[in-house]
């Protein structure tokens, strides 16, 4: 059964477009820019069933990251550090200050 998962786009984004796909199907496309006061660029919430693969790509670059969703996943942080994109499932809603 699909559950709502929040993708928190956090550090390293400077106004690029990112694409969120599940098992190869594009679910959303957003432009993200990190707000340096909070370290948060955007939060994207989608329904994804466990076992499916969520992939974040940045068109025009080779950057992508994939995470296989589990039944306990609720929050996934997405960070760009240089030439790497990372997706990490976290156990509580990330907070920002």
């Amino acid at each position: 059964m699909a559950a709502k998962i929040e993708f928190h786009f956090q550090e390293g984004f400077t106004g690029e477009t990112v694409v969120l796909s599940v098992n190869g199907t594009e679910l959303s496309r957003v432009t993200v820019q990190t707000r340096l006061q909070t370290g948060l660029a955007a939060i994207e919430a989608v329904e994804i069933a466990p076992g499916r693969s969520a992939t974040i790509t940045i068109p025009g670059t080779r950057l992508s990251a994939t995470h296989t969703v589990t039944a306990t996943d609720r929050w996934i942080t997405v960070n760009r550090r240089g030439d790497a994109l990372s997706m990490v499932s976290v156990s509580s809603s990330p907070g920002y200050v």
Binding site: E11, L36, Q37, T38, G39, I43, S93, P94, G95, Y96, V97
Partner: protein, 756 residues
């Protein structure tokens, strides 16, 4: 837009411990001074900042650091030097004459008291032309040479602005005893790098580095604002953490600021957040404009702190420095009391203390952003993201136990963070807050994240009651090579009421300064070839009225200041009883020579004697200079310099002229040369009236019409009223065509009426 705040009773605790209270002197982060001269023989980073594993160099814990007669150490050769950290300014030099302070110096010494960073920073502002410099020196030696005789040496490792204002690379700060046991004198000496030592005598202004005011307002549904925290209230803390009640005030005071809490505390209606009851950044900005008693669209050491329930973003936003809106960033911060910062972990041994600590931490964190501090893991973003960012490149501090790190982001999470957290900013952050160029740090100055620890500053506080303008009387600020640059000064009463001023303030050459800088060159101060002592005559100016002065600023007592093709910047200032009024900066261009004749005469023209001959309106005793001027008239007739030369050559002939003659002192005698008004008048009429606009432009209105006045008077005195009348008629016509003030035209018309 601003509205008055409704009066509401204060709700915030503000009774922070007083500075230098016994508890603060006992605090392990506090260094009360140094003793003996061996206190800092090894690298400063070890011997200077208290370290948990090293003894803290406080000779008498718990006692005041400044020795009083009864407390002086009795056993020689023990030496103790009291703390010197704080802000210093150039000691004012009293003088008999009004003068303009041209240089402002601020020194921040950071070697003891709370969390010393072993730095001396120097800020120099020059009045005219406006120029600033900033340097930071790392302390390499700190010696207590005798009781309260302390010498601190540092090496400059960071510069910003005009480096020439802070020459050398070595800084020596010395504090010495006065007549008593306390420090009585302070000096700063700059030397090294092949420069001559320069010493400034300083006066101590404060134990801290800058003043700042915080105003806390609370939205009515946000609950009580948490502005203090008992460090002993939660069991997860460093074992040796002093148990004390910290406040917003004490945290920033220990960070180096003279903190005052505004008494204007307001409860803000929830309705200001709009129908949704949550706050957007723009709604908070509007509230700041409305409720903050200090709000202004300008940089100031003041900050607004809002406690609200929830942001539009939702419960996951605990606080934000929301003010990256408009021209003046970083003036407002917000803490959200209905957010995740209230969510203590399940099973926490003291959930109430956890929430209070998290709210207090969030408040200081957001306020840190207002000082332009970045998150601990974002520091390295500064340089690549802000091209030209002049601050020291910083490394990320992802594991730092600082107010600017996220507790829940470090290894081990927030429990690991608070187990080691000592309620302080990191050393890099303290250095930035205390020593970075102040525009980087001051609220409302540099934009958020620009020049961050990752914008003169006006050194002068001007009343705004006066405006000073420096201007040429020509459409374009372009001058021909050889053309003596004449500038007009205009001082206007900009206040709403009449004001009195010395009517000769701008004409006597003694009460104002003019500085000229060829672009790419050093600024030089103009020193007038003529100064006048006169009886003080006060004149009253109504609002908008002005007094004027006109001067040939190209020539100075120490040579010509404008004698090469290129661009120049010119600025003037006048001191009105302590109210220093600074003019606009005028940029002008001097064209290259247009003929071989101009180049050929230049070496003889740009001499002190020629400068004097032009400024004096002729100097027959300076034969060589007068010959040069004759050559200019003959070989460069279309150059405006020929107009100046012609009037200087003929001027002395308008009246009987006394000349000192003789080679030997015993042979000196005064001779009178008879006037030759006819000859002089022909030459002057040709120079001044054949192309009156050209003459008025190069001489300036005051000189030009004054010269026509002299000519008419000389002709009238010589019996040529008809000629004099014609000169004045021409003068009036030129005045009218050039838009001269009616009062001046009317004065000329009255002279005309007196002639037959």
């Amino acid at each position: 837009m601003s509205t008055r705040k409704p009066p509401v009773a204060p709700r915030i605790k503000m009774n922070a411990p007083e500075a230098n209270s016994t508890s603060e002197l006992d605090h392990p982060d506090f260094l009360a001074g140094i003793y003996d001269e061996t206190a800092l023989e090894e690298p400063h980073t070890n011997g200077f900042t208290p370290h948990p594993d090293a003894p803290i160099p406080i000779p008498f814990p718990g006692q005041r650091p400044i020795p009083f007669p009864g407390q002086i150490p009795q056993i020689p050769p023990f030496r103790f030097c009291a703390p010197v950290s704080g802000r210093y300014n150039l000691k004012p030099v009293p003088g008999p004459f009004p003068h303009v302070n041209l240089i402002f110096v601020t020194v921040r010494v950071d070697v003891d008291r709370f969390l010393p960073q072993s730095r001396i920073s120097i800020e120099v502002s020059r009045l005219i032309p406006n120029s600033t410099a900033h340097a930071i020196a790392e302390v390499t030696s700190d010696r207590c040479l005798a009781t309260n005789n302390r010498r601190i040496t540092g090496t400059i490792t960071y510069r910003d602005g005009n480096a020439a204002l802070i020459p050398g690379d070595t800084v020596v700060f010395e504090a010495k005893r006065g007549l008593g046991f306390n420090y009585g004198s302070y000096t700063l000496t700059l030397s090294g790098a092949g420069t001559s030592p320069r010493t400034y005598t300083l006066v101590n202004r404060s134990q801290r580095f800058d003043p700042v005011e915080f105003e806390v307002d609370v939205v009515e549904n946000a609950g009580a604002a948490v502005t203090d925290y008992d460090t002993g209230s939660h069991p997860n803390r460093p074992a040796d953490l002093p148990i004390e009640t910290l406040t917003l005030e004490s945290v920033f005071r220990r960070s180096g600021f003279d903190v005052t809490m505004s008494p204007n505390v307001t409860t803000i209606p929830t309705a200001d957040a709009g129908s949704d009851g949550t706050w957007s950044d723009s709604e908070m900005h509007n509230a700041m404009v409305t409720y903050w008693s200090r709000f202004a669209d300008r940089p100031q050491w003041a900050m607004w702190v809002l406690y609200a329930a929830r942001h539009d973003q939702g419960r996951d936003l605990g606080g934000i420095m929301f003010d990256d809106i408009g021209a003046n960033h970083r003036q407002g911060t917000a803490i959200f009391t209905d957010s995740f910062i209230q969510d203590a972990p399940a099973g926490d041994p003291n959930a109430a203390a956890w929430r209070r600590r998290m709210t207090f931490w969030t408040a200081v964190h957001e306020m840190g952003h207002a000082f332009n501090l970045a998150h601990a893991w974002q520091k390295a973003l500064g340089t690549p993201q802000a091209p030209g960012d002049p601050w020291i490149p910083l490394a990320n501090e992802p594991e730092s136990r600082s107010f600017m790190n996220y507790p829940f982001r470090v290894s081990g999470g927030e429990a690991a963070f608070f187990a080691d957290f000592r309620f302080r900013f990191s050393d890099d952050e303290l250095i930035f807050m205390r020593h970075a160029p102040r525009r980087f740090v001051q609220m409302g100055n540099s934009d958020w994240f620009v020049n961050h620890g990752f914008e003169a500053p006006s050194a002068l506080r001007q009343s705004g009651n006066w405006t000073l303008e420096i201007r040429p009387n020509k459409d374009l600020n372009t001058y021909r090579f050889l053309e003596p640059v004449v500038m007009e000064l205009k001082l206007s009463n900009a206040s709403a009421r009449p004001a009195s001023v010395d009517e000769d303030l701008l004409s006597d050459g003694r009460h104002f300064v003019v500085t000229i800088q060829r672009e790419g060159g050093q600024p030089r101060r103009w020193r007038p070839l003529i100064t006048r002592c006169h009886e003080f005559e006060e004149t009253s100016l109504k609002t908008g009225e002005a007094i004027y002065g006109s001067h040939t600023i190209a020539a100075s007592t120490d040579g010509w200041l404008i004698d090469e093709p290129g661009f120049y910047k010119i600025q003037a200032a006048v001191d009105l009883g302590g109210d220093v009024v600074v003019s606009n900066v005028l940029r002008l261009y001097v064209t290259p020579p247009e003929s071989k004749a101009e180049s050929a005469v230049a070496p003889d023209f740009f001499t002190e004697d020629v400068g004097r001959a032009i400024v004096f309106g002729g100097a027959p005793a300076l034969n060589s200079a007068m010959e040069t001027l004759r050559k200019v008239v003959e070989t460069c007739p279309d150059n405006p310099a020929a107009i100046h030369a012609s009037t200087a050559l003929s001027g002395p002939q308008l009246k009987n002229y006394k000349v000192l003659e003789g080679d030997e002192r015993k042979d000196l005698s005064i001779h009178s040369q008879s006037a030759d008004v006819d000859t002089a008048a022909k030459e002057q009429v040709a120079a001044l009236l054949e192309d009156p606009d050209a003459a008025a432009e190069t001489m300036g209105h005051i000189h030009y019409f004054g010269q026509l006045d002299c000519l008419a008077e000389a002709m009238s005195d010589a019996g040529d009223d008809k000629g004099a009348k014609k000169v004045i008629q021409n003068s009036i016509a030129v005045m009218k065509s050039r838009g001269v003030l009616n009062s001046v035209i009317q004065s000329a018309e009255r002279k005309l009426a007196k002639l037959k």
